[in-house]
């Protein structure tokens, strides 16, 4: 059953999720053009301004227009998180397939290295990477991917090992198929759905890692800022309930929740269909 066909028959949480995700993807794609002001322009004298006609989402700690900053910022959060989460899930799955099909010492070695990476706190890794190579979107993606690949690997490997023992894989071996074919054609398609569900959480983690990095003063280059950094840089407006803090936080929440609602129901649906 194709993904498209699935979307057609989504239950309501899935539809809501789909709507939210679609909305944010649109923001990521066109937000920059819709922004009324330049992302770095100081347009108001009062900082942490409230919702107003001139600044629908208020102003930030320097008196910049929050609407514009969020429109620009969502691009980074979504772009980076998507790219990193995708990279992590794909790499994790690929490595897991190699390990699981090859088995033996390859499996052992790979698993050890992955364990090692899991046990290195991701924020620490980010700190080192940025300090070493400076902060660019590419590097942020690389870092996030590096931190979350091992997690994806763990799951993918568990799945692959289970699938490996199934009869149709035995049949393929008896047919004389090579390992690459077995991994790619026989095993992989049966891992997609759980990995999809896992991707959702991984996406959340990357978004969080990004905001965590903003706390450590890393992240995208000013004047741009990802949603997490927006929360962070305006945090001192929190006690006066400035929109500058609340809106980006809400944005992150809706984004992550939306992605998961969608993915949960898509992969759940897929499972139901195959069952």
């Amino acid at each position: 059953m194709s993904a498209v066909a699935r979307l057609a028959t989504l239950p309501w949480p899935g539809r809501i999720g789909l709507a939210i995700v679609a909305f944010w993807l649109a923001m990521a794609a066109f937000g920059g053009f819709l922004a009324p002001h330049d992302v770095g322009a100081i347009v108001s004298q009062d900082v942490f301004g409230a919702f107003s006609a001139r600044h629908p989402l208020g102003t930030d700690y320097l008196g910049r227009d929050m609407l514009s900053r969020i429109l620009h910022g969502s691009r980074f959060t979504i772009g980076l998180a998507l790219a990193a989460a995708l990279a992590a899930s794909t790499c994790g799955t690929a490595i897991a397939l190699v390990a699981a099909t090859a088995g033996g010492w390859v499996d052992e070695a790979v698993s050890r290295v992955m364990d090692a990476f899991i046990s290195i706190p991701s924020k620490m890794l980010a700190l080192v990477m940025v300090a070493a190579f400076g902060s660019s979107p590419a590097l942020l993606i690389l870092t996030a991917a590096l931190s979350y690949t091992p997690g994806a690997f763990r799951i993918a490997r568990a799945l692959a090992v289970n699938v490996r023992t199934l009869d149709f894989v035995q049949a393929a071996r008896a047919r004389g198929e090579g390992l690459p074919y077995i991994a790619a054609v026989e095993i992989l398609p049966n891992m997609v759905n759980p990995m999809l569900a896992d991707f959702g959480l991984r996406f959340v983690f990357v978004v969080l890692l990004l905001s965590g990095m903003s706390f450590l003063g890393l992240g995208v280059q000013p004047p741009d800022a990802d949603l997490g950094s927006l929360v962070r840089e305006n945090i001192s407006g929190l006690f006066e309930g400035a929109p500058a803090v609340i809106v980006p936080a809400a944005a992150i929440a809706t984004l992550t929740v939306g992605v998961n609602m969608l993915i949960d129901s898509v992969s759940g649906r897929a499972r139901a269909v195959e069952a």
């Binding site: 364990d115 899991i118 290195i120 924020k123 620490m124 799951i155 090992v161 969080l208 945090i235 929740v257």
Partner: protein, 332 residues
């Protein structure tokens, strides 16, 4: 962030022979992993620009001062050589000496590890029961409004940046209400009240981060079991859903759940930089971050070792629990 787990932990698949044998084998493998970690850490930290000497002198870093300091710390030796020295020291249980503080790394860590463990333990003690309850309840009511609501709530919890949660918590409970202390540097804690005052908010914040993870994993694991035919059998014996979930499904889900918990808890050791910073809590994570900024590699390595060991122990513990809980593995 902690990582999800599915099915029995990988090692159990390979599990042969007696428990002690397993433990020994895993510890051996663990040591290997530790070395791998140290190598990785060394590799990536050697990419860092500048070194301890420059970091210590900061603005005052004149070439000759730096050179002198490097000589003093042995930073003038080639990197691999330093690594080997460090490894040799590690073999004899010596984690080396901090450049900046000049004291043995072991002492620095010993001063903070108990605090980190305390925070982790307290958080685990609070979050695990909550997470399991949420997971089991939503598994029992899967697809229903309660399930969806819980799912949404836990997601929202994990979606909010932890520094925001922490700051809001402080704002409300410490500043506005004055119930709790805005700091938890966990010094001079004598009475339970003080303990609660100090730990309530860091724990609260961390719960936000890890509950969702564990709850979702628990839900998945229990649902897995609820489709098993022995569950149907139990229903056909007249067992009520609660009994089915708790007495029948849950015991079978312990393996994966324990694994998910282990992964989440391992996050509580190294991943809590932000919470430690905001509550100025003197834990190991902060120690490592500072060490990175000070290029104090012995400390960085030492902390990495601690985190890795902690992670491995937790996963091992999870496997042992899974084995202990599973008669098929217990009686062989």
């Amino acid at each position: 962030m902690p990582e999800p787990a599915r099915g029995l932990p990988g090692a159990l698949g390979r599990f042969r022979g007696s428990l002690p044998a397993l433990v020994v084998q895993r510890v051996a493998v663990g040591l290997v992993t530790l070395v791998v970690v140290s190598a990785i850490i060394f590799a990536i930290t050697s990419l860092l620009p500048g070194d301890a000497a420059q970091a210590i002198l900061g603005q005052a870093a004149t070439p000759e001062a730096v050179a002198a300091l490097r000589a003093q710390y042995g930073l003038d030796q080639p990197g691999p050589l330093r690594y080997l020295h460090w490894l040799a020291g590690l073999a004899t249980g010596d984690l080396g000496r901090s450049y900046t503080a000049g004291v043995p790394v072991a002492d620095l860590i010993a001063g903070r590890l108990p605090k980190s463990l305390m925070l982790a333990a307290t958080t685990a003690a609070v979050s695990v029961p909550i997470a399991l309850t949420i997971g089991i309840v939503s598994a029992m009511m899967r697809g229903g409004p309660v399930d969806r609501a819980l799912n949404l709530i836990t997601l929202c919890m994990v979606a909010v940046p932890e520094f925001l949660v922490a700051t809001i918590a402080v704002l409300v409970f410490a500043v506005k209400l004055g119930w709790l202390s805005a700091l938890s540097n966990a010094m001079d804690i004598a009475t339970p009240t003080q303990f609660v005052r100090a730990y309530a908010m860091p724990v609260f914040t961390l719960c936000f981060v890890i509950i969702a993870q564990m709850a979702r994993m628990t839900r998945a694991a229990v649902i897995d079991q609820l489709s098993a035919s022995y569950v149907e059998m139990a229903l056909l014996k007249g067992a009520r859903p609660a009994r089915v979930a708790l007495r029948h499904a849950l015991p079978n889900a312990i393996g994966p759940i324990a694994n998910a918990v282990a992964l989440s808890v391992s996050y509580l050791l190294g991943g809590v930089v932000i919470v430690e910073a905001i509550f100025s809590y003197p834990g190991v994570a902060t120690l490592m971050v500072d060490a990175v900024t000070n290029r104090d590699m012995p400390i960085v390595q030492g902390c990495a070792m601690i985190f890795c060991a902690g992670y491995l122990l937790l996963v091992l513990a999870a496997d042992l629990i899974a084995i202990a809980a599973n008669p098929r593995l217990r009686h062989r």
